[in-house]
């Protein structure tokens, strides 16, 4: 037998010194703003939305930090951004105000946008002043994103939009939305004829936003209807017809980031706090199970981040991190429940966080690519399909 073929391998990576050095800066800013009452950990982690904290982060150069200085960026590496992101998550800081613009909209504008779009949108995003929503799914298009129907028709001076988007988080408060729309009718080529448009949610005509209440009872989601909504020519992002490749090129960033395994880190932290320095051997093993899994996921995620920094497109690896990471996150509250019972823990804070996390857990393996889709991507990477 010869040595086995290697089908998938993460290169081990360590975060560079420059990135590690940022940690204390971020921690300091978070402690300071928290002490001043700017934010409090609400059990929502980064899904919380706090414009004031986002502005403080923007001021400190922690939003759009990889972008060129002329667009308000700090010209830092992806790995430096990685450290900032994980510090926000580890602290459970509310970051949804700037999250989507920082993670995917801004990079898309930087990569595909016109000079005017870059100058107009990137600096205020980086200052933490401009919030974007992401318009991808539609009522009949969830995992099968390529089946979207929302149309953009050519009209004098721009485009006329008709259709609807759903699960559009924070569309009721965000200033803008970037939506994937059809600029040509459906054809045999499934991925052709789509484009991305920037929509001014506050000022454009014909927009209706319907709130959708999620399991924890919050209003993040919306269904957004567009009826003859006009967007000017210069709000088309990238080339008409390139929408599909534009949205998929950013998926590795969306999928492999630390939010895929640190979204409920605050629960693990609350558990360790509640144990207060002493735990039975059985409880220690359960904590160790969670911590060792988290550690290994982080090693994989850092490997993907390093590959991205090196200009690679590790889509298979990032799908894998998202699958394992979100499944891990779903198990966390179940293991904590067992421990609460076995160790007879009566800690108000822990039980509150636990209740919220149980309600939020089903979303982890759906948003940003459902488990089954991700495993299909991994299987394709292994040449099984």
């Amino acid at each position: 037998m010869k040595a086995p073929a290697v089908h998938l391998r993460f290169s081990p990576s360590v975060l560079p010194e420059a990135a590690e050095n940022l940690r204390s800066e971020v921690r300091h800013l978070l402690e300071d703003t928290r002490a001043r009452g700017v934010w409090l950990a609400e059990g929502l982690s980064w899904w919380g939305r706090n414009p004031e904290l986002s502005r403080a982060l923007g001021e400190a150069g922690f939003i759009g930090m990889t972008w060129p200085g002329r667009y308000g960026g700090a010209e830092r590496s992806q790995l430096e951004r990685y450290v900032v992101t994980e510090e926000l998550l580890a602290a459970g800081a509310p970051a949804a105000f700037h999250w989507f613009a920082d993670r995917q909209i801004g990079p898309s504008i930087l990569r595909y946008g016109s000079e005017a779009q870059k100058r107009r949108f990137l600096p205020p995003i980086a200052r933490g002043e401009l919030s974007f929503a992401v318009g991808m799914s539609e009522p009949d298009s969830g995992s099968d994103l390529a089946s979207i129907r929302m149309r953009a028709e050519r009209v004098d001076g721009g485009w006329r939009l008709n259709g609807s988007k759903i699960w559009t988080s924070y569309a009721h408060v965000a200033e803008y939305c970037v939506a994937l729309v059809r600029t040509e009718p459906k054809s045999d080529k499934r991925h052709a004829g789509m484009s991305q448009v920037i929509i001014d949610l506050k000022n454009a005509n014909g927009i209706t936003v319907r709130p959708i209440i999620d399991l924890p009872g919050r209003h993040d989601f919306n269904e957004v209807f567009f009826e003859d909504t006009f967007v000017p020519d210069d709000y088309l992002l990238g080339n008409p017809g390139d929408g599909w490749s534009q949205v998929t090129s950013e998926l590795a960033y969306e999928r492999s980031g630390p939010e895929r395994f640190l979204t409920n880190f605050h629960l693990l932290r609350a558990l360790v706090d509640a144990l207060d320095g002493s735990a039975s051997p059985a409880a220690q093993r359960e904590v160790g199970l969670l911590v060792s899994r988290l550690w290994a996921l982080r090693a994989a995620s850092i490997s993907v981040a390093s590959a991205l920094e090196a200009g690679e497109t590790p889509n298979v690896e990032s799908a894998l991190v998202k699958d394992l990471g979100t499944n891990f996150q779903q198990e966390v509250p179940e293991i904590v429940r067992r421990l609460v019972a076995a160790e007879e823990i009566d800690d108000r804070n822990l039980l509150d966080v636990l209740r919220q996390v149980v309600l939020a857990a089903p979303s982890y393996t759906i948003q940003g690519g459902a488990t089954e889709i991700l495993r299909g991507i991994v299987a394709r990477g292994l040449r099984l399909r």
């Binding site: 086995p4 290994a296 894998l320």
Partner: protein, 335 residues
């Protein structure tokens, strides 16, 4: 990969390929030690890879030695090579001359069955923080048994007394149990890489209902899950190795935490990887005729060896509880 490591792996793969022919395994199952293959491996210096050059070693780094351990897993090498590599290094670090021949190794992790009890020259005893030494195998009381992999093993009846002139102070680097946990994780990672390869080959070649198994979505999803576990164990292994390497060079610590996390994760993943591999191989995989069992049976041995997942989870958990809520993230992030 460095040129030196590529060269080392070239030799390693050639020797391991020869040492894992069908007839070798037939002999092993019957309790026969493949002495000629051991000799070839020893003569080529593989048992000494971790020794300093002054002590007759190859002068390669820890990562290179662990590439050999990973290959031992990928070939299901039925020899106590990794124990010997680590054992010789521990003795050399304590200023002792390692005895020739294969070694058994006792660390602070729950007593592991010693592989090939009638063939080893000595047992290296490194279960205490302040002393390391060796005892000739004839003076060690071992109860004979067989591992799930079909290799002869001996269970230690009592901790042997170490002759004073065969004992020394351990080096300042990572402990014996951390080194062995890391090495065993590398072996597990290698075996998982092989199992994934065998499984992909099987589902692509095996036709049922008129199409290869790989065309069934249910099968694709299972292979994806297995591949995910194997890949994460791979990166966990490499990350722990890098940490040990840094610690050996006197760099940042955290190696103990990382080695513990890595072995906990690797041992835990053995269940999912072997379960899926056997499910997808069907009945033929449940026979001694098929190669799969060489690797799955070793995973069932190695997940328990040098501390099972429960042991290492307990270590990780006690570090986490001690760190407390505020210290938990710095523990994980290493800063």
């Amino acid at each position: 990969m460095s040129g030196l490591r590529a060269l080392l792996l070239d030799t390693t793969n050639r020797l391991f390929e020869a040492a894992t022919e069908d007839d070798v395994f037939e002999g092993v199952e019957a309790g026969r030690f493949p002495a000629d293959h051991w000799r070839a491996i020893e003569e080529n210096g593989l048992a000494d890879v971790l020794l300093p050059e002054a002590a007759g070693g190859a002068g390669v780094d820890f990562g290179d030695a662990m590439a050999v351990a990973r290959a031992a897993g990928a070939f299901a090498l039925p020899l106590p090579l990794v124990e010997t590599i680590i054992g010789r290094r521990l003795l050399a670090d304590a200023g002792l001359e390692p005895p020739a021949g294969p070694l058994g190794l006792l660390t602070a992790a729950p007593a592991t069955d010693v592989a090939w009890p009638d063939e080893i020259a000595a047992l290296v005893v490194a279960d205490q923080p302040d002393s390391v030494g060796w005892v000739a195998a004839v003076d060690v009381d071992l109860e004979a048994g067989t591992s799930s992999a079909g290799e002869p093993v001996g269970r230690l009846c009592r901790r042997p007394a170490i002759p004073a002139d065969q004992s020394g102070r351990p080096g300042s680097g990572p402990s014996a149990s951390e080194l062995m946990a890391t090495a065993r994780t590398a072996m597990i990672a290698g075996a998982m890489e092989r199992i994934l390869d065998l499984t992909i080959e099987h589902v692509q070649g095996r036709v049922q209902f008129g199409r290869p198994l790989a065309r069934f979505q249910a099968v694709q999803q299972m292979v994806a899950v297995m591949a995910s576990h194997a890949a994460v164990v791979g990166v966990a292994s490499d990350t722990a190795i890098a940490a040990i390497e840094a610690a050996t060079e006197g760099g940042s610590s955290g190696a103990g935490f990382k080695a513990a996390c890595a072995k906990a994760r690797a041992s835990e993943a053995c269940y999912e990887v072997t379960r899926i591999a056997h499910q997808l191989h069907g009945a033929i995989g449940y026979t001694r005729e098929h190669d799969l069992q060489r690797f799955t049976r070793r995973l069932w041995t190695w997940r328990d060896a040098d501390g099972d997942e429960g042991y290492w989870q307990g270590k990780v958990g006690s570090m986490a509880v001690e760190a407390g809520g505020n210290g938990l993230w710095p523990l994980l992030a290493g800063a």
